[in-house]
Amino acid sequence: MNTLRRLIRDRSALLGLIIIAALVLAAVFAYPLATFPHDVTNYDPPRRLLPPDSVYWFGTDRMGGDIYSRLLFGARLTILIAVVATSVSVLIGVPVGLVAGYYTNRVSDLLMRISDIFLAVPQIVLAIAIAQTLGPAIQNVILALSITYWPFWARLVYAETRSVKNEVFIEAAIALGASPLRVMVLHVLPSIASSVIVRTTIGMGGTILVAAALGFLGLGPPPPTPEWGRMIAESREFLPQAWWYATAPGVAILLVVMGFNLLGDGLRDVLDPRLRRDVSAR
């Protein structure tokens, strides 16, 4: 509870929390909140490309869909992709990092070399290649992101485990006869959890950016799915007249990623005193 109170006292972390809460609310209540909830699948060509007004708050798109309503349903997709892809990455990366960091042998060397291979090219390139091979679908986007992102957690957990491994409390646990699995899960993991939580929060923002880039390149879920990156890509044909078309999804991506970054920074200050953002001046 103390953590939460300190987090709320940090103004930018609070802002991050509010943005993420708004995203979740938008996704959960997309249907009642939407002014034209059927515009996700139904189109109305006569009212295409209308500028924002009191009826169509963020304007309409090339098929006459209400951009505000589509944006709300897009929030569901964004959360789904970010949460599932990040969770899978964490579930692969953390065990790999723990094992590689705890043991000092060929297996741990091999595991880290494998993660190095994944880190040797920009994530987006691997993700594009995987998404293209598997075809445009939401589960393939998630798979592509998970396969490309787990090494980040493996690297982090590896380094943290290495630095914790020689602490007295770990030696004590081993001396008392605890099995390696027990030491890793009950002693190492809790002491490195805070940095994993911070990295995961910031990682959500990164995942959303790459997912949007995949959508932008046409590798995301196929139309009429209201994917934010795809909405921006669609707008390009209609510039400069339809200036509002890309504005709403672009701002949405900006705010959501910013929300996760702000919350991550705030969590780091609260959970991990070694990595404080601002070292207090004397």
Binding site: I114, I117, A120, T133, A213, I232, S235, M258, N261, V279
Partner: protein
């Protein structure tokens, strides 16, 4: 440590080729059919398949590919029909010109901004800088690119919408349009290349600048609260001298270590940004080849970028070890 990393470089690259080979061959798409065209007779497709070795079993295709790469042959692009190495080489200067421009701009603005923000901590300027950096890191690069196009190219008409030049560019010497134009004394072409460069460079520079500002600011604050700076202040050394001589030097080492990270983000963003600006560089090459299942081109690109990545990170590690021996 560095020697150990060097030893691991070939296996890492080998693993990278294996990974990309596996990814691009999971689904048996048929590049030979695409190449031959919709209505080509089956014999012609078969001949093409044989010509490019696509009829061999996968392990043999892989062995053949690795053997070729080891002798410097990256194969032929299935679509441009030119050697992949040649295509990559021809497109390298375009991406390099972008990346160098972006890094230069990001450092030139980011470092002073970070220092000033740290020295006047919690001032209005500090808060403004903070908002700019936070947005810079959260903005989708392709959206920023479109916004800049809309504002500067379409509404204000100051810059071209797309491409690297209006015509063919200056006769190549180095392949960098700006440098070639200067070498030939062709100032009109120089201006034209700079106008084309402006928007993509700005798009790539913003996130890089944001990262630099963050690390410079944190680095300066960290050094400012250290004992040796406290001591120097107590000795009555003028603040300006402390800042210029001691604080900046120590703080910038921290920023330098981030160059690897910044470079990575830059290349990743270049892939998408080049697609938006139709910039004839490595990024748009990668996107085109992936979308067309051009195996050889994809693997060539990955191998090339992977090598550059590993070398850049190695160089940064060495530079850091030289500048800051404490890390060893």
């Amino acid at each position: 440590m560095v020697a150990r990393r060097m030893v691991w470089m070939p296996p890492t690259l080998f693993g990278l080729v294996l990974l990309v080979f596996a990814i691009s061959h999971i689904v048996p798409s048929d590049p030979a059919r695409v190449m031959a065209g919709e209505n080509a007779p089956p014999e012609q497709v078969e001949a093409l398949r044989h010509q490019y070795g696509l009829d061999l079993p996968l392990p043999r295709q892989f062995v053949r590919y690795v053997g070729d790469v080891a002798t410097g042959n990256m194969g032929t692009s299935l679509f441009t029909q030119r050697p992949v190495a040649e295509d990559l080489w021809a497109r390298l200067p375009a991406t390099f010109e972008l990346a160098l421009g972006a890094i230069t701009l990001a450092v030139a603005i980011g470092v002073p901004l970070g220092v000033v923000a740290a020295l006047s901590r919690n001032s209005l300027l500090d808060h403004v800088v903070r908002i700019v950096t936070i947005s810079g890191l959260a903005m989708a690069a392709f959206w920023l690119a479109i916004l800049l196009q809309l504002l500067f190219s379409m509404w204000l008409g100051l810059t071209p919408v797309q491409g690297r030049s209006d015509g063919w560019g200056p006769d190549p010497i180095t392949g960098f349009y700006t440098i070639d134009a200067m070498l030939r004394g062709d100032w009109e072409t120089l201006g034209e290349s700079l106008r084309h460069l402006a928007l993509p460079v700005a798009t790539l520079a913003l996130p890089a600048m944001a990262t630099i500002v963050r690390f410079t600011r944190a680095g300066v604050l960290n050094v400012m609260s250290s004992n040796f700076v406290f001591y120097q202040a107590a000795m009555g050394i003028p603040r300006r001298r402390v800042v210029w001589k001691y604080i900046l030097r120590s703080a910038l080492i921290g920023t330098l270590t981030q160059i690897g990270l910044i470079f990575g983000t830059l290349i990743a963003n270049a892939v998408v940004v080049e697609a938006v600006f139709d910039w004839p560089g490595l990024g748009s090459f990668a996107v085109h080849s992936i979308l067309q299942s051009d195996y050889n081109a994809i693997m060539g690109f990955t191998l090339f970028v992977g090598t550059v990545f590993i070398v850049v990170n190695l160089t940064v590690d060495i530079a850091q070890a030289v500048l800051d021996p404490r890390g060893q």
